[in-house]
């Protein structure tokens, strides 16, 4: 089965069809998806600003990061869950959208960036935790995160404009 066939199957499934044809459920899920941006990416931007050294620089990095982390993760969980349901209902439609592919690409880049940060600099956090000027690696990770997530939001919004 190709990826496109899988997308068709998802969209044509009972749940996919019911979601797309519902009067309110789809709208509610879409609104949740948009507003949970605040919890996930909004708080992530704040954490990234600390990594770059532009926010709360007198405070330990771990203080900002670890305090925000559970809330961000909850936000991303809501994000992926609601996004997954939206995808289910329109899988074949968005499969063809170049904007959706770009969104996924930047989503993967953002994830890879986070993973790289956590496994490298994140592990040695104790050595640079309280520096007002974070190491270059942390700055790069922070900027990459901000740029990737901005791209995800931009292309994500564009998906809706391109296929209506």
């Amino acid at each position: 089965m190709t990826l496109l066939e899988l997308c068709h199957r998802l969209q044509d499934s009972a749940i996919g069809t019911a979601l797309l044809e519902s009067q309110y459920v789809w709208l509610v899920i879409e609104s949740v998806h948009v507003l949970s941006l605040s919890l996930s990416v909004g708080l992530l931007f704040i954490a990234d600003l600390r990594l770059i050294g532009k926010f709360r620089r007198h405070e330990a990095v771990s203080d900002v990061l670890e305090q925000l982390r559970p809330w961000m993760l909850a936000g991303f969980a809501v994000m992926f869950l609601s996004g997954g349901l939206l995808f289910w209902s329109e899988a074949a439609t968005v499969y063809a959208s170049p904007w959706f592919r770009l969104k996924i690409l930047f989503l993967i880049l953002a994830g890879a960036n986070a993973l790289l940060f956590e496994t490298r600099l994140g592990r040695k956090l104790a050595s640079w935790n309280t520096l007002e000027r974070p190491p270059v690696g942390a700055k790069i990770a922070g900027w990459t995160s901000i740029l990737c997530w901005t791209a995800v939001i931009v292309f994500g919004r564009w998906v809706a404009y391109a296929h209506t």
């Binding site: 507003l35 605040s38 909004g42 931007f45 704040i46 926010f55 901005t150 564009w158």
Partner: protein, 168 residues
């Protein structure tokens, strides 16, 4: 339209209709409707501003509720998040005004728009007054929780009503 028939013929809003028509007839409004890219591009900016604004709102309110950064005084966290919050407000207000100009008359007849504007005005006024109190002197815990609940209700109410403009 869920409001009763004729509501716009004898209320305060009725006198605003000519103003809304004027907004829509401005150069920006006309250009925005003609261009295929104006609305989507500005709306993306609006969404990014919203992310920053609501992110900062959450940070402040999670602290007020005692859920994050408890080792730091409330006034400290509020002061730190304040520039991000107002940057978010400035971005969403500027982009939102441009979006409004392209479809002012549609907004006039859209009940969600009026909810959104009401929530927004109260949210900004509340933020301004509450913030000053929060950074001035320590408040009892119950007061902090009440401020947080009201602030979350107002800002997310603005967001939900705003999103609903496209749906009603």
């Amino acid at each position: 339209m869920s409001l009763g028939g004729g509501w716009h013929t004898h209320t305060l809003e009725a006198s605003l209709l000519p103003v809304f028509r004027w907004f829509e007839a401005t150069g920006v409004g006309i250009y925005g409707r003609k261009s295929a890219y104006f609305f989507p591009v500005i709306e993306v900016v609006h969404l990014l501003g919203l992310t920053l604004l609501l992110g900062a709102v959450l940070m402040i309110n999670l602290r007020l509720l005692g859920l994050i950064m408890n080792r730091h005084p409330v006034s400290d966290v509020v002061r730190a998040a304040r520039p991000l919050l107002w940057l978010g407000v400035a971005t969403t207000l500027a982009s939102g005004s441009l979006l409004f100009l392209t479809e002012a008359v549609k907004c006039y007849y859209n009940v969600a728009f009026w909810y959104k504007i009401s929530f927004l005005i109260v949210a900004i006024l509340f933020q301004l007054t509450a913030q000053r109190r929060l950074t001035a002197a320590p408040l009892p815990r119950a007061a902090l929780r009440a401020v947080a609940a009201l602030s979350l209700l107002l800002w997310f109410g603005t967001g939900i009503a705003g999103r609903a403009i496209a749906f009603v």
